[in-house]
Symmetry: C2
């Protein structure tokens, strides 16, 4: 049975150490440098997924190159917040390379075994001198306790209001296996990963190619199924490491692989939802489930289009059960369906059937959204804080789901008053 580990994060699985540190990149003086490192500093099998934006930050270029050079063997991930090191040209690239070198020297590994990530203001270089002096300190401070993971997760926050981490555990083939993770949001979030950094740790032993496939699968149904504002960024990365410290070795297409995939999916899904829930200015998490489409791809496209609609998002912020906007968004998703079979529900409230609106209790439907937002404010990411929109588009086998958040005044405030 899969259980969630209280206060668990990247150090919940065995074989990892982590730390957070205030290097001085953020004007606020908040923690801004995180590391996650293999316990004995040896390179571990790593999988990674990178932004599809063709404008890519220096650390994205460097980390992808290192993954190729090292054939996916990573000893440490170094993440800074404050400056995104994107649009910083050759000097920014040099800063990234120096970061890699200093970390490799401190750990006694090759530079290609270091993975770097940056997040924060685009077009700004971080202070390389501060980076160089901080890295040995933060690496030697890394702890295998939950506290280490907690500190790391805090240090990668930018406009995030909440720290984002989780860990899930299961017994697989008699061994206790744990998958942990941390991530940050929270604007420029759209399918295909966006201003988000995610780190996944796992203490099973998985071959590099199998691990890459597993991570890709988990990311597709989690991080790639969320949208905040339709913008995808220059810095997005998810990187996952396997320590093997649980003693369980996974072979492809085995029952154990399926069990580990479930654990990985659960971890990524929780992290992804926490990003959507903490979308800039959001008051509530929105889940859109689509059924009956011709294919899963069509269903997912409809779910994402509805989740991404500014008009639907603003209606939910206003607690308006506006089925017309939901139907209109579904209709423009470039998925073919028979409108006469369109059925839309909001929670338990049926709003539309056979393509036509049905009488419903508008006050109760509005209260439903209000209650979810209130629950959401009180119990963050509980089971009761999600506005659920269910859409049926026919009798096909296609299903899909997407998560997002509402559009509030606060989103505009955050993004109009953010300083370049």
């Amino acid at each position: 049975m899969i259980t969630q580990i209280e206060n668990g994060g990247v150090t919940a699985p065995k074989g990892f150490k982590a730390a957070g540190y205030t290097a001085g990149f953020k004007p606020s003086g908040l923690p801004d440098l995180a590391v996650i490192v293999s316990e004995d500093h040896s390179p571990l099998p790593a999988a990674a997924l990178f932004t599809k934006n063709i404008v890519r930050a220096a650390p994205v270029e460097i980390s992808e190159e290192n993954m190729t050079k090292s054939n996916g063997k990573i000893a440490a991930i170094v993440l800074n917040s404050g400056q995104a090191n994107a649009g910083t040209g050759a000097p920014g690239h040099q800063d990234g390379l120096e970061t890699v070198q200093v970390a490799a020297d401190a750990l006694g590994c090759q530079p290609e075994n270091i993975f770097i990530c940056s997040t924060g203001v685009i077009g700004k270089r971080f202070d390389i001198e501060k980076m160089k002096s901080a890295i040995p300190t933060v690496l030697s401070a890394a702890k295998s306790t939950l506290e280490g993971g907690f500190d790391a997760a805090k240090a990668i926050m930018t406009t995030d209001l909440r720290m984002k981490q989780t860990a899930f555990q299961d017994t697989i083939a008699g061994k206790t296996v744990t998958v942990g993770g941390m991530c940050k949001g929270s604007g420029m979030i759209h399918p295909e990963m966006a201003t988000m950094l995610g780190v996944i740790s796992c203490d099973a032993s998985v071959g590099r190619d199998v691990w890459q496939k597993m991570l890709k699968k988990a990311v597709d149904k989690s991080f790639n199924a969320i949208t905040v504002d339709g913008d995808s960024s220059t810095n997005d990365v998810v990187c996952g490491l396997c320590s093997g410290a649980s003693g369980l070795t996974i072979s492809q297409n085995s029952a154990e692989a399926d069990a580990l995939q479930s654990l990985l999916d659960k971890t990524c899904m929780h992290l992804a939802k926490s990003i959507a829930r903490d979308g800039e200015g959001a008051t509530v998490l929105i889940e859109v489930q689509v059924k009956g489409a011709v294919s899963d791809e069509d269903a997912t496209r409809i779910a994402r289009t509805v989740t991404g609609s500014s008009l639907v998002k603003a209606a939910i912020f206003g607690h308006d059960p506006n089925w017309g906007r939901i139907a209109a968004a579904a209709g423009r998703a470039r998925a073919d369906f028979d409108v006469s079979k369109l059925k839309i529900s909001l929670g338990d409230h049926l709003l539309m059937e056979h393509g036509n609106p049905v009488p419903f209790d508008a006050v109760a439907a509005s209260s439903y959204m209000k209650e979810k937002a209130e629950a959401s404010a009180e119990h963050y990411l509980s089971d009761h804080d999600t506005v659920l929109i269910t859409i049926e588009v026919g009798n096909g086998p296609g299903e899909g789901v997407a998560w997002g958040c509402d559009l509030s005044y606060k989103y505009v405030e955050i993004n109009a008053e953010y300083t370049t």
Copy 2:
């Protein structure tokens, strides 16, 4: 030489009458029924473009059918605001058919010669009894003066703050030819036409097929190049009629056809920009010009993606010269380009060159946006009210342009507090 006609609209070209009327569809008591009709009630060559959303309102279905049945011969366009007659099922369809019949009876033409449009709240039927009694009145009140066009343009407004009409005139082959138009916005606006109704009138004589091609061409570079919020609606239509009253007959691929195309483009472009400028909550019009792409398609896709980015829109509202968000939006447009050739300017301020930011006067760049917003508030749609973003992505021949508006608190307010 093309000149704009002061206070010109759909009745500026010869051969048309129009009127606006308060039928009582809008709770506000504002005008809500418009007609444009051929001066002698005879059906005229008509061209039309319809929403690509697969969820389509009853009037869209009916008008498309009438265009087919009549082989593109329309005597009158009847437009109501207040209720969109979308998602209204069979009863809504019946309302549309009755509207058509009453108008045909009043004019003495066939039902298929009537074109109907609705805009307003989705899922609401209009009061068919009010419609039936109002149609003969509004048709007999139609005038060929500019006042008739003005009244019609006012009667199709919903959340529009400004009435939208224009007319341009040129001398072609010795004849004075005029193209006029009216339209409404102002949310759910995205390429491929969205919560927008547009009516174009022209007093040249153009064969139906040629006229359809000309209108399509003009709409592609005008109404299809604007975005307010990425949502496209169930009701979008542009319909254009030719009276032939100027005495000029246009044959395909002639110099006269080119001259008329220019006039038509100019009219549609002006109307499209007026929609973008009056986007819900907008303070300023944004124009994004892209050059150097591999193809016009790529350039246009980049222009539209930048124009549609919530982050770019919020930055412009906040007068923040945020080139990073512009570059990030360009990078996710699914157009391939060499980032090392990326060049971005904001007005005369060069922000980025060779893929890297360059030093610029941030205060002056911010003032540039502030001044445009101020000019925009004072002189609506003047030549000086547009925030211009110029993007070069290489040395290719591809060029494209798109228009949009900024994202303000007011957009959220309008769309969170709109009543279903």
